[in-house]
């Protein structure tokens, strides 16, 4: 089992060294799309929404009770 793990790790490392484009696929995708600014703003909008809502609900319940 240890030998198999070591072999797989070696193959993966060699693959990353010999074909780095495959490893950098995600950053390349983000930079390649014309929608990267929109994606940034969309994620930026969505992340705080649940926290704001949870805080507002907490504030409302505390004020009402």
């Amino acid at each position: 089992m240890n030998k198999l793990t070591n072999t797989l790790t070696l193959v993966l490392v060699m693959w990353m060294v010999l074909a780095p484009v495959a490893v950098w696929a995600c950053p390349l995708c983000v930079n390649a799309t014309p929608y990267k600014d929109g994606l940034l703003w969309a994620v930026g909008l969505l992340i705080p929404v649940p926290f704001i809502l949870a805080y507002l609900m907490y504030g409302w319940i505390r004020r009402a009770a």
Binding site: Y35, D37, G38, W41, A42, L46, V49, M57
Partner: protein
């Protein structure tokens, strides 16, 4: 003879600070806000990118008519606010007039939106024409659907009010309807600015 459990229940109800129905409605509105936030963020992916928006050859959205329609919806929020205020003061006649006027403004908003949609479809903007059309009908359509639900609730509250179901001290149904109506009214200016400009 009233049982001890019934007395306890009555006492608990009297001491209650938060109505379960109101809490449930607020949780529902939180879910709705998340739903619209998801739709808006998907829209922003296209809107804030340096691609041509709206796409070439698409009909121009009627900003002026929709701006007037926005004022109509905001006015309905104000009349509902005043309606609750006069109900608490015991002026039932004025309350009924304001509530009816609110419902009429809601129906006017929906009718104008419907007319606008018919015109846009005639000019070639449909759900399946492109992403622009898809987003327009999804966002504006979902809001319109919520306004429709709000108008139905308003008419239901109006009928119950005519039957004398609400008093200056007991008007939970009106409060629930108002909270929901304020949500749909408050959401529309955000959608209007995002989609039409």
């Amino acid at each position: 003879m009233v049982s001890k459990a019934a007395v306890m229940t009555q006492k608990l109800k009297a001491d209650r600070k938060i109505e379960p129905a109101m809490l449930g409605l607020l949780l529902f509105i939180v879910v709705e806000i998340m739903f619209f936030a998801g739709l808006i963020s998907a829209f922003l992916v296209f809107r804030l990118s340096p691609v041509q928006w709206p796409p070439a050859g698409q009909p121009r959205l009627p900003i002026e008519v929709t701006a007037i329609n926005t004022v109509v919806l905001l006015l309905s929020g104000f009349t509902f606010y005043k309606a609750i205020k006069v109900l608490r003061e015991g002026k039932k006649g004025l309350y009924l007039s304001l509530l009816s006027f609110t419902a009429l403004l809601g129906i006017l908003f929906l009718t104008t939106q419907g007319y606008e949609w018919i015109q846009l479809v005639k000019f070639g903007l449909s759900v399946s024409s492109n992403v622009y059309g898809g987003f327009f009908y999804a966002l504006v359509g979902m809001h319109g659907f919520h306004v429709f639900g709000g108008v139905l609730a308003l008419l239901w509250v109006l009928v119950r009010s005519l039957m004398g179901a609400y008093s200056p001290k007991h008007h939970l149904g009106v409060d629930l309807c108002r909270t929901y109506w304020f949500f749909v009214v408050g959401l529309w200016p955000i959608l209007f600015v995002l989609i039409y400009f």
